[in-house]
Amino acid sequence: MSILSKFAPLRQTYDQLRSVGQNPFEMVFEDMLSSTEGIYRGKKTILLGTNNYLGLTFDEACIEESVAAVRAHGTGTTGSRIANGSYGTHRKLESDLAKYFNRQHCMVFSTGYQANLGMLSTLAGKGDYLLLDTDSHASIYDGARLGHAEVVRFRHNDPDDLRKRLKRLANEPGQKLVVVEGIYSMLGDTAPLREFAEVKREMGAWLMVDEAHSLGVLGEHGRGLAEEAGVEADCDFIVGTFSKSLGSVGGFCVSNVPEFDILRVACRPYMFTASLPPAVMASTITALRRMQEQPERRQRLHENAQRLYHGLRKLGFAVGPQCSPIVSVAVPEVPVAVEFWNRLLEGGVYLNLAMPPATPTPSPLLRSSVSAVHTPAQIDRAVQLFETVGRQLGVLPPAVAPARKRAPVASAIPAHAEVAMLASGGAR
């Protein structure tokens, strides 16, 4: 009996996935050519699942600033800000973010995951209540588990359901913190934030919005869903990540709540981990500036999103309820989804395979995320390949001239593969 024996069922699913083709959870790219192309097994592959919304990972200015910072300040900070002190760059990054969001306070974290771990576990303490949307990201569930508050779920994107639950808690003395996401990472749907803000005001709760996928994507200035919905004043805390639109790594929280800074000596995922390295902060600061200087990136992002979303929808694929840079196609069965994903990769298009229970419904998803720097030709190529494979696998009805017959799909993967635990959202 090994200490790892408990993972036998997961191992089995994992091995079955491998036997079908490439394993979507252990992809290695030999090279990255740009924000939208990499080399996989010697072949140029379109990257359509990397959350690189603005395509800033290869921005010249970001790279130059990053190189200059690593030369000037070294490769790492080798400790936490509490123990080793902050660099001027930590302060600048925080003040730039606070200014951009028109907030008084900002704290940066080493990842977005840690920002959620830190904020949720520290803001809501014993006797308090955390109200989470059922489709929340794993980092939100994990943050809730790390803390001592009571955790209550409400139905996805349902402000009335939230109101009902808050009413049941009306006589409980603790603080209530509601957490929602700007854009949900699996289907690309946005929260009805105006309505949530109304419930929050009515019931006297606090509101946190995770703008991980909406920063740089929504709002006139790219500040996310809170800006787009016109309810920034109701959002007490905004968390987000540098790992998507800003093309680096790290997380943050901005707020106007007085005395916010006390969290710096109370929030363990902030205190007990090494702080962001100089090169990462330099590129992030520059990316934040580029994002503001170049609103046309956001424009192109939405054009590309429309092109992919409507392209796939017109073909008859089951896309999400709303057009956004996250475009997911639901496929009825896991084995079909696995085969589909493999054939897309063989055809030179890489995207994400998400499986239940990481997905909001029992259907597995082929999840794409569009970038501002995808060319229309790249998007069209993806749509075309989707159509070809969709017809081969019977996900779409045959075209007028029937497609060439292909080998039947292996049905080796159990319908509710636990491999989903490897993908995001696995806490459910």
Partner: protein
């Protein structure tokens, strides 16, 4: 078993039968995940429907202690008692 606990359990079983859509022998010892082969999304939805049915809030850490229908009935019964 107290009368309210018995009633709670009966109501839970009735609710489960609605979502199972197939005949099943359900009692206090039935293991919700193993015996009924329900996936986590369905269980979550069922728990939320119980919250609505009984007008209670079942915090996640209380859900974590539940394995059998009997466990679930006890948790719900306790939380009902708090109202």
């Amino acid at each position: 078993m107290t009368e309210t606990l018995q009633n709670t359990q009966a109501e839970i079983i009735e609710g489960l039968k609605e979502i199972l859509k197939r005949p099943a022998q359900l009692d206090a010892t039935t293991n919700i995940v193993r015996d009924l082969q329900l996936d986590s999304l369905v269980v979550m939805d069922f728990i939320m429907s119980l919250e609505d049915r009984f007008e209670i809030v079942i915090p996640l850490d209380r859900v974590a202690e539940v394995e059998t229908l009997g466990d679930l009935a006890r948790v719900v019964d306790q939380l009902r008692g708090r109202n």
